[in-house]
Symmetry: C2
Subunit: 504 residues, 2 copies
């Protein structure tokens, strides 16, 4: 700290010291936390009285620029500390809750949060996770992938990507879609996304004014319900049975309600596991065409067939450009990468891309290149074949365990693919009570309620299997069965009784 | 293709052949594109008349399952081809444009698209890009980063991330923010984003009802204008001068208008390069406090100082929780990774996280881990020091070239950081005409218009320097100067004349 004292100046010496130190602080040359010399030391150095330095320091402290600190002498304060040390009272904190748009104040269901909290407890087996676990796959060798990635495209990893995504990736995805019986889309009909959730959001945001109706399956994916609610859409439910969405029910609704979008998960539906039959697919598309309403076909689980290949996507039948097709790698590769895609008619691509630009500019280059590597060298296909075998056996482990341990008050379907087994509970069981009882046994699942737009669904629960070993699955079901049995024995208090329900 | 003919059957032979092939196709065992044997060959193989096979194939073709293809014989059709080959007429295509929400039909300005198209032309030097180029940095060794990444966290790269982001990353960012003079935020006040654009979108979506007013700098970042427009907000402009936003003007506006959000880029503002003075920062915060209005402080460029460190962020002065602070790595590391963060008061974190969950669930694990590696080993800090030197010299190259080549009708500021030089054009120049003239010379820039909410700004242009070599910068400016001079000489037609304008 260099200070110059001019003894011939009109300015008192202590003011000269003070103003020079003040400048050093405000210009950042004495940074926050820097120690000032002890008063005695500085006084001797400058050849002034100690009182002179004391007065200078006192002025600086009064302005909140420095402060005495126990054991550290006098230090320079940071801007934030200065604000606190200043004489002005702190302002009344801003009351944020009143500033948040009313329908965005509580998007997430408290029950979903409760499940997440319970699942995070040490020692708890989660039959709730909607996320597969692929770490044991012998076919995903990330180190090799990354090595090739760096060899082949190091130069571009940090650069921007076209808003639609990398051309090479879009072409590869188009080629793969053609293998499903769809006519091959042009690469510029494909929008690469940070996961399929983003596609759901963009489509809903682009098409639905608040108050407009969207047709959803009942039950359906909770994340879709959250999007539609967040955007203020009106949710219209159509029941699902073992053949998927009941199109005849949709037909009746659409005769009366001005539906603006149909959302469906035709393959291994979340949460029921149902596969929509080829006849229903054709019928739903015909219905959409008659009413001039677009369909959002969410094919998150289409690759996860453990027995027959599911029927061709509705997009394959679509000759009028009614179907938006949503794909993702999260269900087969884990959600850590965040990569999905939306196939859309040309007229929709530009507005979707412009909206996506406002939302987060463009997809990650690193992620897209990594996925290109996995697709290009065949490791994803090998992984898929492995996944089908591995998860089919986990599904069987879950079904066997249910068979062995569950009392007759719990019934379940036998999904031919996907990640979930959907169970129906007979009275007096209800899934909210069962959740708490199960948590005591250190096992959790997702109560049916969260999958229904109307919040009903206490007679159902969803069990996941793809992320657990057969041993953990068996132990989880044993614990769950104990909870079920204990709840059955409890004298029923005044809660609403739940009758017999079909499984789907 | 294995077919079995039962000669004792009541079913005619051609029907037996037809139904077996039909099953093979519908079950996917004969995939789309597969070739059927020539009729004569199959007849001989089965020991039947050729006419029998012809009849079988004719039935299958009538149902749209197979078709004769020139040079390829008879092939199996895909589902889509079947639909087209079937007798039903194609439905009238869906008219999407009428289904898109009106204010989302054209978010992107045609002028921005025009600039992008011109910039993509072979041989064109782009002074338009808002994106730095870091490939020559000696400090970002992606191969080492990836290697360590795989060593340290291979297990988790594909798993999901907390919606707020990885704890380790949030703690590191909190620590770094404290170095800027802010009080250190708790890690759970930080939301990791796919770039700062996402933060802009989430905040605007959470707080602004359609029709509500947002205060923006004039000029400002075009991506912010697009978000606010897409959400239907009312844009209120406050002029920027060389000290940043003119807070006295904001004060006058806020006396009359019910502003719901203040958006500012205090450091090396886009596009003007202005740095908001410490006094203005304090005054703007005080104004916000008085009106109980939140501030979104976009600090995208805060690390890019080439001379003095800019004043502390407004967040450092904020004792009432009025400031939302937005950071990003795109400006220093390139936009390919997609990583930004938002620091927000605790009351806002949960609704922001819930909204983010609907938008794209959670950030990429791969990206977050890669950034943790870059932060943890000091390579980002070394890179930052390099960036400041490298880009300062590119800025100087641009300023020198302007000095050497531009006629007096073009004037410019001297930014002390950031990525842009903002230029004012004197009459009769206007930036839209100049853009086309410059494109003929194979150089592009961003016309001022896109940065103003009211579309004015023809008297300005923005030039970028951080992504170009000094040689390209000099050549780009030479070309631009030729375009300027040619335009000056043209006899002025009836376009509106542009007067003298201050630079900022």
């Amino acid at each position: 700290m260099q200070l110059a004292i001019r003894r011939d100046s009109d300015t008192p010496t202590y003011r000269q010291i003070e103003s020079q130190i003040r400048s050093l602080i405000l210009e950042g040359r004495l940074p926050a936390g820097a120690r000032l010399p002890a008063e005695r030391v500085l006084a001797r150095h400058l050849g002034v009285n100690r009182t002179t330095v004391v007065n200078a320091y006192r002025e600086l402290a009064a302005d909140g620029l420095i402060a005495g600190r126990a054991g550290r002498g006098t230090v320079v304060l940071g801007v934030a500390e200065r604000a606190e040390a200043s004489a002005e009272p702190a302002p009344v904190p801003l009351a944020w809750s009143g500033l948040i748009r009313p329908r965005l104040r509580s998007i997430q269901s408290p029950l979903v949060r409760r499940v997440a909290d319970l699942a995070a407890r040490q020692g708890t087996i989660s039959l709730a996770a909607g996320i597969p676990e692929i770490l044991t796959s012998p076919h995903i060798a990330l180190d090799k992938t990354m090595g090739r990635l760096l060899d082949s495209c190091r130069e571009s990893l940090l650069q921007d990507s076209p808003v639609l995504g990398l051309m090479h990736l879009r072409e590869e995805l188009a080629r793969r879609l053609a293998l499903k019986g769809c006519s091959r889309p042009a690469a510029n009909q494909i929008l690469i996304l940070s996961g399929s959730q983003q596609g759901l959001y963009l489509v809903a945001q682009l098409l639905l004014e608040p108050g407009q109706a969207v047709l959803v399956e009942s039950p359906t994916y909770v994340g879709a319900l959250e999007v539609f609610r967040a955007l203020g859409a009106r949710l219209i439910e159509v029941p699902v049975d073992e053949q998927g969405m009941r199109v005849s029910a949709a037909e009746q609704i659409m005769a009366h309600v001005d539906v603006r979008l149909i959302y469906t998960i035709p393959n291994f539906q979340n949460p029921t596991g149902s596969v929509m039959s080829a006849e229903r697919r054709a019928a739903l598309l015909a219905l959409a065409q008659r009413h001039r309403v677009p369909i959002l076909e969410d094919d998150l689980y289409g690759e996860l067939f453990y027995e027959a290949n599911p029927p061709a996507p509705m997009r394959a039948l679509d000759r009028g450009g009614f179907v938006l097709y949503l794909g993702s790698l999260s269900s087969v590769l884990g959600p850590g990468l965040r990569l999905g895609w939306l196939v859309a008619p040309p007229a929709l691509i530009e507005p979707l891309a412009a909206l996506r630009r406002t939302v987060d500019l463009h997809p990650s280059n690193l992620t897209q290149q990594a996925v290109c590597e996995l697709l290009g060298d065949g490791s994803l296909d090998a992984h898929l074949a492995w996944v089908r075998r591995a998860w089919a056996s986990r599904r069987d482990a879950l079904l066997d365990a249910l068979e062995s341990h569950m009392p007759p008050s719990v019934r379940w379907g036998r999904p031919q693919g996907g990640l979930y087994v959907w169970c129906a509970l007979a009275a007096p069981l209800n899934s909210r009570e069962l959740l708490e009882e199960a948590a005591n046994e250190e096992v959790v699942f997702v109560p049916g309620n969260v999958f229904f737009a109307d919040g009903q669904g206490e007679a159902y629960m969803r069990l996941s299997f793809a992320h657990l070993s057969a041993l953990d699955i068996a132990e989880g079901v044993r614990r769950l069965a104990r909870a079920v049995k204990r709840l059955e024995k409890q004298p029923k208090h005044d809660g609403p009784s739940v009758g017999e329900h079909p499984i789907v």
